[in-house]
Amino acid sequence: MATAVPVSRPLVRREVPREIRRRRFLVAVAEHSVLIGLAIAFLAPFVFIVLTSVMTDHQSLSTNLWPQPAKFSNYSQVFKDAPLLTYAGNTFLYATLATVGMLISSVPVAYALACMRWRGRNVVFGLVLVSMMLPPQVTVVPQYVMWSKLHLIGTIWPLVLPNWFGDAFSIFLLRQFFLTIPRDYADAARVDGLGEFRIMASVMTRLARPALVAVALFSFLYAWNDFFGPLLYTGENQGHWTLSVGLAQFRHLHSVQWNLTMAATLLFMAPVIALFFAAQKKFVEGVNLTGVKG
């Protein structure tokens, strides 16, 4: 801004006129107020859920906003009314098995698509993209028929098994990430005589750890929150319900009160939110990976 003067006179910063300074200050205040307002709006539902979860049934149907008295026993009541631990166990089983399977099957595929040269590579990648864009409702009918012929309806296997054969979204993400790893690492390893498999297993996975963590987290989150799949495949067998199905059916089964439903909702969200806070940095990194490199 100030032109360079080749003289011993010290650089004089032009004084920013008061109006401009004040305008900038007001704009900053306005922006921060908007942000704070938005933050309140975004957090408000959580606040109300928490408040309602400790109300009595009568209160949750009234227009009172504040619970009096606070009935924390609602939480133990929820555990009594519905086998939440069973549901949680089922959900955890599904999410873990699906994530592990996804990692094992998708990493080689992404590696082959990104780091190895072969004919038809781009066609296959195109097919991966197409399968990503397909609404699940399109394939659900024949898949359901297939699983029912295998007598696996009522279990979580129809949900878990497809993940052991590659997950399109994870493949896409991992491939994009593998593309950014410089070839030198792989080439050096090849010169050293390592087989492709070893290269992939040791070199790439170490370098690509953030991406692996990201897809693992996304896969876990997706399975945890999945509703349509479990509704379809475990709906008839209450012992195998996941938390999402259990929550949706909670109201129906016990003609239940909103206060208990809200408590159950919180319990459903709790593990994932805890996971988020624990792995916050990886989460955000992962989210950036999906979009910016996409």
């Binding site: 975004f42 099957s105 009918v141 938390l243 988020f276 979009g291 996409g294």
Partner: protein, 336 residues
């Protein structure tokens, strides 16, 4: 394992020994086998969980199938029913289209707007980022339940607070004209994902572009229009495509909202599906109707036909957007 011979050796040009050629071919074969091995899970998965269902779907769409007895070939009757007999399908299509045309752009714009403001904030960026991202962690079922409860027109906090400042709140999820906007609000609550992506992209825009624009006298609006937007246009396109795809598949929230918001239930064991699309069919999205026809009305063949249509539409829409992306998206690197 020997490394391939002289790089770039033209066959026949030099005296390439036959052993070398054989060795090279062997190495190629080994590599192909390795690729095959690595791709095998996906190949099986694609065939069994994608290819086969597509083909089977096409077949089923020409049958009547109630899943309790074998499929019965009926030719094009399902498609006839779809285009002339079924009065529910066109409203379902319109509902889904409404969502894609209104909710998706709103989500993108809202995510971008919030990201813009967060980007300019100097303090507490981490805090705001966390706050805005938290709702996306909420499972769709839980979030929908919470929203239906919070927006209960008679006893929910939203209308209670509105009435305290003198506004009579609408019937939200109980009103056919407000139910889709209510679902949109629910979707907006969950833009954290897109917002973080936009935030990263906005922060990635090279500062010198902004500075030179500023020098040229551009105000914040023009800077956003001519610098920010073009630079992050790949991200915008990505968000729109994802949004449209999700809109075409929108099921969970519509299903839960309509069955939960409906008053009481006819009969003892609330057969909740009787209220799909409540109120007045305004939340009956295409995937929800598909579920209803196939899994409630014993009409799997028709559901298969519906899904074929959905596939065609998805392909067309995705192709349209991607084909036209060249017009809207600047090559990576932004304005030079």
């Amino acid at each position: 394992m020997t490394v391939s011979g002289v790089a770039g050796a033209r066959p026949g040009a030099l005296a390439v020994a036959p052993e070398r050629r054989a060795a090279k071919r062997k190495a190629q074969w080994r590599r192909r086998r390795m690729v095959l091995l690595m791709m095998s899970p996906w190949i099986v998965g694609f065939t069994v969980f994608f290819g086969y269902p597509l083909i089977a779907n096409a077949y089923l769409s020409f049958t009547h199938y109630d899943l309790l007895s074998s499929p019965r070939w009926i030719g094009t009757r399902n498609y006839d029913f779809m285009f002339s007999g079924d009065k529910q399908i066109w409203p379902a299509v319109k509902n889904t289209l409404w969502f894609i045309a209104i909710a998706v752009p709103l989500q993108v714009i809202f995510a971008f707007g919030v990201a813009q403001i967060v980007a300019r904030a100097r303090s507490g960026v981490g805090f705001f980022r966390t706050v805005f991202y938290l709702p996306t962690l909420a499972p769709p079922v839980a979030a929908t339940l919470a929203f239906v409860f919070l927006f209960n027109p008679a006893t929910g906090p939203v209308n209670t607070i509105l009435s305290k400042i003198g506004i009579e709140g609408p019937l939200w999820f109980q009103s056919p004209s407000w139910s889709k906007p209510s679902l949109t609000l629910l979707a907006l609550w969950g833009v954290g994902n897109a917002m973080i992506i936009f935030l990263a992209a906005i922060l990635d825009v090279p500062k010198h572009l902004h500075e030179s624009a500023e020098l040229d006298g551009a105000g914040w609006f023009n800077r956003m229009r001519y610098v920010t937007l073009p630079s992050i246009s790949p991200v915008i396109l990505f968000s729109v495509v994802i949004g449209v795809i999700q809109g075409l598949q929108y099921f969970d929230q519509a299903y839960v909202a309509s069955t939960v918001a409906a008053p009481g239930a006819a009969g003892n064991a609330a057969d909740s599906s009787i209220n799909l699309g409540y109120p007045e069919g305004s939340t009956l999205m295409y995937p929800v109707l598909l579920y209803q026809q196939g899994f409630r009305y014993f009409n799997m063949g028709y559901a298969a036909a519906m899904s074929i249509m959905l596939l065609l539409v998805s392909l067309v829409v995705t192709l349209l957007i991607v084909r036209n992306s060249n017009r809207w998206v600047h090559a990576a690197g932004g304005v030079k």
